[in-house]
Structure formats: structure tokens, C-alpha cells
Symmetry: D2
Subunit: 212 residues, 4 copies
């Protein structure tokens, strides 16, 4: 079969692997490529090929970053002297970091786990999440920075909560006996929450974390 696939079929097959993309959207993407001017197609192709080289995985927080100027050893957050080095927020993905940075209310450092640990036990997931690297990062920070708090920032979903438990189990032996506290993002009513339709867990959190 593979021998009879046309370039168009092959391109559609690539697009089908894009996150959240089905066969129909993949086909539309391919027809979109056909409408590009040659220089646009070339630029897109060039970016696809070179992205990995232009993007660096920060060796400290494991965030992908892409910089136009001189290559730096660490990402812009990790090397920013104004960030509070006593706080480390562990998140699943780069997109979580971006959402938090957009909110402009966190001034500590990050660690990107690179994925979640799904409830349905799948050893591959666990290899994907960088628990070893996280332990290494923690050990360094405990020594060099005055780490005071590790915040677990995961979605309130079965996988998010399972990942929180998984990371907690990994970190507890290391943090035992240190002054570092392990916290979770607070729960409560979020923007758009209707009290009438809120689930018991959310109501409980909202009552416990009430504010003046």
C-alpha cells in the first residue's frame, strides 16, 4: 500500500497526526497548502525543519523556548533575576506555563513535567513525565536556591489529579525533613461558575477558602 500513496495522501496522513485533527480537516489543510504561494510553502517547510534547532529545551525547567538573539544557557524565566527562586510551580505542559504567565500573578519558577500520568496505568506515560529530571531539579534548587514551596498546578480532571498524586508520591521522600512545603492550586468557584450547578467538591472548596 505504502508504495501507491501519492504525496498528497502522505501529506494528509501527516496532518491527521496533528492534535485534534481528523481526516476531513487534514484534507482541508492539504488543499490549503496547494493554495500557498511557492515562497510561503518554502517558508513553512523551512520552519518545520528548523524548529527544533531554533527552539531550545531549557535544561532547568524543561520549557521549550525560542529566541531570536544570542543563544542563552537558560530560558528567559529561569535566568530572570527578578523571579522568586523560592517557589517552584510544577505543571504538565508548556501551554499551562503560558496561561499562568498571561495571568501575570506568578513570579516564581516553573518545572514542566512534559505530560500527565493517566489513571489507566500506562508505563509509557510515566516515562514521558520527567519525574527523574524533576527530582534532579529539586535537589539542585534545595542546595542552591532557598526553595520554600513546590506548587502542584494540574487540571482538575481525573488525569490531572492522578498526576498530582504521582508527583506527590515521588517528591515526598525528598522533601521530608526539609522546610519545603508542597501545595496545590486552590479550588473554588471559577469564572463562569453557577452556584446552582456547582458540584459538591467545588462548593466545599469555595466554602473552605472563603475570602474577605
Amino acid at each position: 500500500m505504502i508504495f501507491s500513496m501519492t504525496p498528497l495522501d502522505k501529506l494528509i496522513a501527516h496532518f491527521e497526526k496533528f492534535p485534534g485533527t481528523g481526516i476531513r480537516q487534514a484534507r482541508r489543510f492539504a488543499f490549503h497548502i496547494l493554495t500557498l504561494k511557492p515562497e510561503q510553502a518554502d517558508e513553512l517547510a523551512g520552519l518545520v525543519t528548523s524548529l527544533k534547532n531554533s527552539v531550545v529545551l531549557c535544561p532547568s525547567c524543561y520549557r521549550y523556548y525560542s529566541e531570536s538573539g544570542e543563544r542563552q544557557p537558560l530560558c528567559s524565566i529561569c535566568r530572570n533575576p527578578n523571579r522568586d527562586r523560592s517557589k517552584l510551580l510544577v505543571v504538565a505542559r508548556d501551554s499551562d506555563t503560558e496561561a499562568i504567565e498571561r495571568s501575570g500573578v506568578y513570579d516564581g519558577l516553573y518545572f514542566i513535567l512534559g505530560g500527565t500520568v493517566s489513571l489507566l496505568h500506562n508505563p509509557k506515560d510515566e516515562q514521558r513525565v520527567r519525574s527523574g529530571a524533576l527530582l534532579g531539579c529539586l535537589t539542585t534548587r534545595l542546595k542552591e536556591d532557598h526553595l520554600m514551596e513546590v506548587i502542584l498546578g494540574f487540571s482538575v480532571s481525573p488525569d490531572g489529579e492522578n498526576t498530582a498524586r504521582f508527583v506527590e508520591n515521588h517528591l515526598e521522600p525528598v522533601l521530608k525533613g526539609t522546610a519545603v512545603s508542597l501545595t496545590h492550586l486552590g479550588r473554588g468557584l471559577s469564572t463562569g461558575s453557577e452556584l446552582e450547578y456547582a458540584d459538591p467538591e467545588t462548593i466545599k472548596s469555595a466554602l473552605q477558602s472563603r475570602t474577605k
Copy 2:
């Protein structure tokens, strides 16, 4: 026109006024009534007529309640000696009270405002919400019970937040100089929240109210 409306049309018109019900659903409801056995239709009609008589508005919390036994002067929550009388949770509607009671984590008393104050200023709304009655209730509780905290429990929506501000403005002069604190339900990630899609306000609250 009104003279030529058939009973079927009139019933459909009644159903159209039911909350969240359009003309098509109203028609389906009318055809559903046609499929009822006479004794079922009679029971339904009897309940519609007598509901108001069988349901009492609690003179203390303004909650509707319906009891099968002997008539009581107060609703089951207000007369429950095990409820913590130092806390008063102000909500918009009976359905909010029900959601909180289902969660089983609140043991104080309630006050049902009877509606929200919409952002688009509408004097009718303000008459609908029982701010006068709320002030009376507070004055009584300040004297008789050892009221310590008034909790505002409104949805995180423009109208919910406007109602919270409105109630706050009403209560502040009364609470000034007392030991009673005015609090809000806590905000944060709610069940199902994806960190990546959380809005800045929710992320901010989640960071501020982080828990061990």
C-alpha cells in the same frame, strides 16, 4: 385574538412561560398532557393549584419549604438546633441552597435574596431582592444569635458579582462597628477546570488560595 384561542393554545401559552421553554417544547408538553390518564391530569392540576398553600416561605430565611406533617413556624434548617447560628450565607435562589445542602459541608444558616441585581440597572430587580428583609434578618441575628460571619454566595457571573457588590453596599453600614465579618465564597480551579484554558482571574485566585 384572545377569543379565538382554543384551550390547547392557551395551555401551550402557559407552558411557553415556563423557564427555558420555547414554543416547540411547550407544544410537546401540551401533547404530553393529552396522553395522561384523567387521574394523573387531575393530580397534576391539584398540585399546581395547591402548591402555594402547601409551600411556606420561611419568615426567617425566605426559603420555600413544603412539609407533609404539622405546620412549623420556621423551615427545617432555621429551626434545626444543630446548625451553627453564627454563620449566615446569603444566596440568590432556593436552588443555590439546595446545591449547597447537597454538598453537605455547610452547617450555618441561609438567607435567600430571591433574585439577582442585574448589571443593567433595573429598579424592579432591586425590589425583587429582599434587601430590606435581609437587613431586618441581620439586625435580629446580631441581637439574638452570636452572628460572626455573613458569607456572600453568588455565581461568578456579571449579575452574580453585581449582586454581591449591591448586598455589600447595603450591609456595610449595618455591620460597621460589629465583630461580624463579611466574606465571599472562595475562587479557584473548579471541578473540570483545565489549567491551560483558565482565565487570569481564576489562575490568580487559585494561586492565592493554594492549599497544602
Copy 3:
């Protein structure tokens, strides 16, 4: 349990049986009843009780109708001398008749089957659909009117198509040897159909029934 149900609970239970209504909407309906003025509640109750008496099942087409004037032996469609009595359109429900009348393009008579015959064989369904009455109606029309065509008008869904087959099997022996033709509503692109997403069956019908 039934003894401890309050009138409010009983009313909510009635509303839960309304088509497409869950427990939450049922509760909202009950609280809506509480906001009615006594005369509104009484009118609604009166209509619920008397609907069946004010509405008549047409003995010819089995359509429910409700008339404000003098009682007539047949519904307004069946007794309308301008309707084409050579065509009989068999539909599942009163609401189908209403949709077709709104379109204003059908001038024949109807027969309301009263339900569909679901694919998952359920003898109750078959009793609900008035196949016996349909045969009687046909026999009368064959004699008295110059019936030329029976049109099956069912939704294009598994149940609709199964009902069409069921009715076809019932009618074929009766229509055999007569000049009456048995037809189906035409298929093709409907308003809003996107050619790109149309299923093969619809495309096939659209090609077969192309028009000038």
C-alpha cells in the same frame, strides 16, 4: 417513601415526566409555579384538567384538535371540502402534521399513526401505532373517496425508516390490485446541507431527483 413526599416533591415528579425534562428543569418549573398569581395557577390547572375534554381525536385522521366553537364530527382538515381527498399522508405524530401545514404545500388528507415502530422490536410500540385504524381508514377512503396515493411521511432516521417498512408491509396486501400508489417523501439535499459532508445515500437521492 411515597408517604413522606411533599406536594412540592410530587409536582417535581410530575414535571420530570414531561418530554425532555430532567430533574433540574423540573425543579425550576415547580419554583416557577410558586411565582404564579393564584388566578394564573388556577387557569393552568383548569386547562390541564379539561384539556382532554376540550380536545377531540378526529375519528378519521386521528389528529387531536381543539375548537372554540360548536363541536364538529371531524377535524377542520378532514371536513375541508377544498382538500384533495385522493391523497393520504401517513405521519407519526401531530407535530409532523403541523410542520407540513406550516409549509402550505400539501392539500391532501392525513393519517396520524400516533408513534413510531422502533427498530428494537417492542410489541407495545406496535400497539401504540394505529395500524388497525389505518387499515379501516384506507378501506373507507378506497370506497368513498377516490384515493389515488398513500404517501409515507416519516423522518429519515432508523425508527422513521423502520416505521415506513412496517406500514408498507401492512398496507401492501390491501392496496394490491387497486390503483392506489404507495409513495415516500423525496430525499435529497435539505436546507443547510453541505455537499462536502452529505452522506452517500443523500447524494444518491439528490442525483436521482435532480430538477430543472
Copy 4:
């Protein structure tokens, strides 16, 4: 600003131009590219660059096609001796052709217009649709093939119907005096249509095109 855009930003900007893709999905696509193995990224880039060269616009029907074997002067449909050359189906896009081919019920030829003419008059649209090329194609077919029917196959939407009118106006002068008929795909109930919710136009078509 353009000078400070990183390669990652540039790639995201490219993905944002993909049909139906917002900024968030574009970002996910970019992060997906980061997870590709170098050889996968290279293959994808190669396909993007070379797609136009590997894909040919059929000079007869204006369909894009991509063939792995020897280059042919016409697409596989146009050069297929078994296709009925007396029928020409005019559609807006390649994806429409694909949907019809999947249904397996059309054996004639196609002409791909390359777009729709939107109701809101936009001269660019009209340039995009290949009305000149369509006239040329028709003239050829009228001479060489025994063209008997031009079928307009557009979605039943405001733009689709406007395009049909636009093409009709273009073709009428050419077809006048010839034996070629101009037809439209048939309308009626499509798969999934509920009679109760069908619009008057669809009901009308379904009644007019009823089948035995």
C-alpha cells in the same frame, strides 16, 4: 515587530492561517512539530514544498490530482473511458467531488469551480471561481462530447445558492439553442432529517420529489 518574531512565533502564524485553526490550536500544532523525530519533520517539510509539483491541476475539470506513476495529461476521472461524457457536474471544491465519488452513484464528468460566489458581492470571489474556464470547457464538450446535461451541485446555503444563480446566469446564453439541459441536485429530506423540524422549503421539495 517582525524582526523580533522567533521561528516558533512564525510557525504559529503559519498554522493560524490553516482553515478552521485558531491561535490555541496553532500553538498546539507548533508544539506537535517539536515532538516529531527529525526524519518526520523533514518528510513533512519536503511534502509541503513539493506538493504543488507533485499535484497537477487537471486542465479539463480543474481538479487537483496527485499520481505516483507516469504523468498523464488529464486526471483519472477525465481520462476514464467508462465515465459518461454526456453529463457534467459543476461543484465548488475538490472536497465536493470526493464526497460524490465516495457515494459511487455518479458516472459523469466534473468541473471544479474553485470556490463559491458569496452573497455579499465581492469581485475577488468572482475572479476565484473559474467561470471563464467553465465556459471554455463547455464549448469544448459541446463540440467533442455529446454533452446532454450540466448539473449544478452546490450546498443548500446562501452562498451555495448564490453560486448556482451566478453560474446559471453565465451558462444560459451558451446553452440557449442547444439540447443541453441545466439541472440542480434534488432537494428533500436528507439522512437524519426529522420531519417535525424540517423547514417549509425542504418539506415542499420532499413532497414534490416523492418516490415509489
